[in-house]
């Protein structure tokens, strides 16, 4: 009968695994690994058009890699940049590598916009015409009489007022020095040649990211060998470095915890069977978790796998409880053993699942994945133990005294006795430790915690931004209007308000389409004012004659001016001439949401002055980083409440099974563990954020597990303490290793869980002891 049950269970397990294996053929064939940092963040909690604008804004930024080849002499920098360009092109990673400025594109743009020079006046020219037209004439004379202005002089015949060169000058406000068509940046006497590249795909796969890093490293070595230096920056590089360290961590944590568990199990059981069975439980759990996660989310993030690696330690617990039950029992029968430990196993699983469900309720896709991964992995490992082990453990005996038992014996008998004797002092110490630690906690809610960024990379990025202040900040304005006219009015009003802020250095630069393209009405206005103050007033004719133009040329210019009066440049026409960066600012019009555009910002120094402008009609301030950080803070508070709720649920659940008095006793272990873990964060000056609170949920789950096993152990206290010690050690090996992570979030998780488990391990044996007295 029993054997029949065991076989049925095993059959059920086999069937389940077959289904998962079949699903895996479908899941693992597509591209299933996610590495990007943004995939971890919750979708913007705002209107869909803002989310769309954020997507467009990021799409362009997230593909850009900036390269600076530096040398003592300009000429050498140019040579190095040329070699670098060849290397980049050969790599086939990039859709575009830009070194020389695209001369032809500028010429084409000039040619296309030239017929509209009287209509497309830049802001400064327009202000001078409004206020002091003679000043405009004087500026032109100054330019023409100076030793520079060759380009302007060459255009003088066709454009005597130099309107075109004024317009183009205002379109490109950053004045960079060019050397053989390459932008040269200077840092003292050191010269840097600039190269811009766009990756082919904003979502690079892991192997491509590794190629990018390898390329950056070889290029750097190459340039340094030639006596130069290389600086590289850009979002893809941050992602690549993050993915690289995550990969290393997966192997460190995975190999470290596997090795530790192997040594522990072999030393304890002196037989390969427990090790093989534990591996089977862990392996099927991890495999099932991977497949279920991919099927559910489409893709799985690298960071989830880092956590997944640590799951090994928890998934192993159930196997340990089962195996240790056989300690010292003659003719131990697996099915009987299972019946004895099943309540403990079930409560352990439930409390763990409950804590992972807590993670799942956070809005962060990353944590949701971790929750599903861990919960499904644990469930399958648990099912493996419960369904398969009764069959596979037939005939297993465990009647030697493992070395570990000496330690656990001391720990479960002598330590509680000593602790009971000194309970007043210990209680005081505990209160002081917890109170003092919590008092020192300083919360941090920064979105950057999700990513590991080597300081070296951040320094380079800062240095590049200082030399080349063109890169747009992540904050921007979204401007909308019912129709194109309405949008134009709104954006113009915003730009008018931004100009004084720029003068006061609240920001370096802003860029909006309406600053370059006047609408039809304004084009007409521009033309009229030129006509009134320069052409009709005779100022232009005087200026031209004084310079030395012939009568005929003056007359031709006047005729030309009259002939183009009704020229108008439409927005689509202007967009066609604009470069990619400016085109990206226009989000388009549709009947549902009207017209929308982005006003991009650079070098923001006073964010609050800028965000104040969102009260203007049709203007929204979009600050992803700020929003996420406030989201973190909000969810930190919410996670605190969740933690309290979890305590209440655990208490209620335990009370149902064991009664209120004992439920309070049992839950004192996980609560103490969580409180002390929190306090340790304060004592050790560790990062305290939302994520530590999620880690405390796990501590609660695991703490309940240990406490319950000690509580129900009864006469089997020796085997329970062995099982709990083995579980705690394996969990510590796994989560403790997470503390080596360079990603703040992962590190914080590891530290918190490790501190909590040590506390739970120390306090669990106190339970049964005091309960008996």
């Amino acid at each position: 009968m029993r054997a029949y049950h065991a076989k049925a269970g095993a059959g059920l397990w086999l069937l389940g695994m077959l289904v998962i294996a079949m699903l895996s053929t479908q899941a693992l064939t597509k591209d299933w690994l996610e590495t990007g940092f943004l995939a971890l963040l919750p979708p913007a909690e705002q209107r869909p058009e803002i989310a769309e604008a954020v997507r467009r804004h990021n799409e362009l930024n997230n593909r850009k890699v900036i390269w600076l080849a530096g040398a003592e002499s300009t000429q050498q920098a140019v040579t190095l940049a040329g070699e670098l360009k060849r290397q980049l092109q050969q790599s086939a990673l990039f859709s575009r590598v830009l070194m020389q400025l695209p001369q032809q594109a500028y010429i084409d743009q000039y040619r296309q916009l030239f017929p509209y020079r009287y209509h497309l006046l830049d802001g400064q020219t327009r202000r001078m015409l409004d206020n002091d037209p003679q000043a405009l004439i004087d500026q032109n004379l100054e330019m023409l009489y100076s030793p520079i202005g060759q380009m302007q002089a060459a255009a003088l015949e066709r454009d005597p007022l130099l309107l075109s060169s004024r317009y183009f000058n205002s379109q490109n406000p950053f004045k960079f020095k060019l050397e053989q068509g390459i932008v040269m940046l200077h840092d003292g006497h050191y010269s840097w040649a600039l190269l811009l590249s766009d990756l082919q795909d904003a979502h690079l796969q892991l192997d491509k990211l590794e190629q990018l890093l390898a390329l950056a490293d070889t290029a750097s070595a190459h340039i340094e060998a030639a006596g130069g230096r290389l600086m590289v920056s850009g979002m893809p590089l941050f992602t690549a470095r993050g993915a690289q360290s995550a990969k290393q961590e997966i192997s460190t944590v995975g190999i470290g915890s596997s090795l530790g568990i192997m040594v522990l199990l072999l030393a304890t059981f002196r037989s390969p069977r427990p090790l093989l069975l534990s591996s089977l439980a862990i392996g099927s759990g991890l495999f099932a978790a991977l497949i279920i996660c991919i099927l559910f989310f489409g893709k799985i993030h690298l960071l989830t796998l880092v956590f997944g690696a640590s799951l090994i330690g928890v998934a192993d617990d159930y196997a340990q409880h089962f195996l240790c039950d056989s300690l010292g029992v003659k003719n131990w029968e697996p099915s009987k053993g299972l019946r004895f430990i099943l309540p403990g196993l079930a409560i352990g699983l439930l409390s763990n699942l409950l804590s992972y469900a807590g993670l799942g309720f956070s809005p962060f896709p990353g944590l949701q994945q971790i929750a599903l991964f861990s919960a499904s992995g644990l469930l399958v490992a648990w099912l493996t133990v419960v369904l398969l082990f009764p069959l596979l453990l037939t005939g297993f005996t465990f009647d030697h005294q493992p070395g570990l038992l000496k330690w656990t014996g001391y720990w479960e008998q002598r330590w509680p006795a000593w602790a009971f004797k000194n309970r007043h002092g210990l209680a005081l110490l505990l209160v002081a430790l917890i109170g003092g630690g919590i008092w020192q906690l300083r919360p941090q809610d920064n979105v950057r915690l999700l990513q590991s960024t080597p300081a070296e990379l951040t320094d380079t990025a800062d240095k590049i931004r200082q030399l080349f202040p063109v890169s747009r900040d992540s904050q921007f304005f979204l401007v909308s209007g019912k129709n194109q006219d309405d949008w134009y009015r709104n954006e113009q009003r915003l730009l008018e308000n931004l100009e004084p802020l720029k003068q006061r250095h609240a920001l370096e630069y802003y860029e909006g389409i309406s600053g370059f393209w006047p609408d039809a009405r304004k084009q007409g206005e521009n033309y009229s004012i030129l006509k009134r103050v320069l052409y009709d007033s005779g100022l232009l004719s005087r200026y031209m004659s004084n310079l030395g133009f012939t009568e005929a040329t003056v007359k031709a210019e006047l005729q030309q001016f009259i002939a183009v009066e009704n020229n108008r440049l439409t927005l689509p026409e202007w967009l066609k001439t604009a470069d990619e960066g400016k085109r990206q600012l226009w989000l388009g019009c549709d009947s549902a949401s009207g017209c929308q555009s982005i006003v991009a910002l650079s070098g923001i120094k006073n964010g609050s002055a800028l965000s104040g402008l969102q009260d203007l009609p049709g203007v929204s301030w979009v600050d992803q980083v700020g929003q996420l950080s406030s989201l973190f803070a909000r969810y930190r508070v919410r996670a605190g409440a969740m933690l309290a709720a979890a305590c209440a649920i655990i208490l209620a659940g335990l009370a149902l099974r064991f009664g209120w008095r004992d439920a309070l006793k049992i839950s004192s272990v996980p609560v103490t563990a969580a409180a002390l873990a929190l306090a340790m964060l304060g004592w050790f000056g560790q990062l305290f954020s939302l994520f530590n609170l999620f880690a405390l949920l796990l501590v609660l789950g695991i703490g309940v597990d240990y406490a319950v096993f000690f509580y129900i152990a009864g006469h089997k206290r020796a085997s329970a303490s062995l099982a709990v010690t083995l579980s705690a050690l394996t969990t510590l090996l796994a989560f403790g290793l997470l503390a080596v992570s360079k990603t703040e979030l992962v590190h914080a998780f590891g530290f918190t869980v490790a501190a909590g488990i040590v506390t739970a391990l120390i306090s669990a044996p106190l339970l049964g002891r005091s309960g008996r007295r």
Partner: protein
Amino acid sequence: MSFIIFIKALVLCLLFSSHAYADEVLPQITARLVKTAIAEGDFRQEKQLKVLRKPLISTGHFTYHHSKGVAWKTLTPILSLLLVNDTHLLTSQGEQTVPVAFGKIFTAMLGGDLAGLSDVFFITGTNQSASWQLQLSPKDELLKKVIDTMRLAGDDELRFVEIRESGGNITRIEFTRISHPAQLSPGQDADFARLSR
């Protein structure tokens, strides 16, 4: 007959030697030039634009400082100040794009750093006892689109510059009353301070 050939050969040889390549002439001319940290003087610039019937003539005062750059103060017909070094160009209209190789040419020229010019130009020239002359043609394709040839002439100072642009416009600058003060006047210092800001 052979005598005539000999004479011709000799003339050719002489021509060749006086019209020697930069390698030989440049160091000789450089050696002649007075080299100090500071030079200042008056200029007269004449720009001949194809479209205009008369040249644009301006006069003023220039100051060269070996590390700070050049201040070009136009006094007539319109008052203006242009400041330039290797990397920056500042006019009353603010920061400007430094035209191709302009900063370098300007500072090298006024500082007597002819070797620096040979990075950018192919240089040939003659060096005679009374005066020297150099012909410069750009090496760089981009610069060629703007400048066709340049001519520099002088004695122990640079006295004359002619720039023939590819579009046909010509700029000629004469320098007079060149002196080498030991230090800048406070006014000149203030001008340069704006450039290094």
